[in-house]
């Protein structure tokens, strides 16, 4: 039996702003964009990688109270979205920074050997990017 990752979910409060980050800055491709009852579910993925990331809105398919609670956590920065890896951290960092994303950490060599940087996506999720 083999189990692998198929889809993961990131909450975003503004799908268009999220696309500016995940598609335009990080370079993910859009694989689906579904609208229903005023909300959107946008599926993005790294080119060549078979792992879907579904960007969805906190209130989509949820009650007002549940959506509000999730939106608060996202906006106040309590959630971590994902860790990406890149073969060229410095170029990726400059491209994402140039997109206007909030920088949490410039590319830094950590004491344990990894080299990475960190941003907030436009909704407030922490996104880390590591040198492959």
């Amino acid at each position: 039996m083999t189990v692998s990752v198929s889809s993961m979910f990131i909450l975003v409060n503004d799908p268009d702003a999220a696309l500016g980050f995940y598609r335009d800055a990080l370079g993910l491709e859009v694989r689906a964009d579904v609208a229903s009852q005023g909300f959107r579910w946008v599926t993005v993925a790294a080119p060549g990688q078979d792992v879907d990331i579904v960007l969805s809105q906190p209130h989509g398919g949820r009650s007002q109270a549940e959506g509000d609670a999730l939106l608060s956590l996202v906006t106040q920065g309590s959630l971590q979205a994902a860790i990406f890896r890149t073969d060229d951290l410095d170029t990726t960092f400059e491209k994402v920074r140039a997109s206007g994303a909030e920088v949490l950490q410039e590319p830094t060599s950590q004491p344990w050997g990894a080299r990475d940087c960190a941003f907030r996506d436009p909704s407030g999720n922490m996104v880390r990017i590591a040198q492959a």
Binding site: L71, Q76, L104, W112
Partner: protein, 136 residues
């Protein structure tokens, strides 16, 4: 949620990110509040409502968490105290003891190899001291 409530949370997040980045600087609550574009009293109240502790205790918890990382790497207690932005060894040690439950030199001497297998950012979150009592 209203747009104003969302804008407030964005400001609080930026102030907390400032603390996470600049914890080693002599940060005070008025400086943090100015990052959040709020008065210090209003900022402290909103920050605590969002994150469960006051801005100052959050800063000190952040410093102690960073101190734990440096001590695990073998830095001396005095150097660690200065590196995380604390100026008094006595108050650093007592705050460390209060949050971690042992003093910095005891913590430094312990075996921390079980933490080496998790990614850095996970270990940061996993080792971050939690204030479970009423945040003071």
């Amino acid at each position: 949620m209203t747009p104003d409530e969302i804008a407030d949370l964005v400001c609080l997040r930026r102030a907390r990110d400032l603390i996470d980045r600049e914890y080693a600087q002599p940060l005070d609550v008025p400086a943090m509040a100015s990052e959040a574009r709020m008065s210090p009293a209003h900022f402290s109240r909103k920050f605590r409502a969002a994150y469960g502790e006051t801005p100052y205790t959050y800063l000190m918890t952040r410093r102690i968490e960073r101190a734990q990382a440096l001590l695990r790497q073998g830095m001396t207690v005095t150097d660690t105290c200065m590196a995380v932005g604390c100026t008094s060894l006595g108050s650093f040690s007592s705050r460390f003891n209060e949050i971690v439950g042992e003093n910095p030199s005891q913590y430094r001497a312990r075996d921390h190899s079980h933490l080496e297998v998790v990614p850095s950012c996970v270990s940061m979150v996993a080792t971050r001291p939690r204030r479970t009592a009423v945040a003071g």
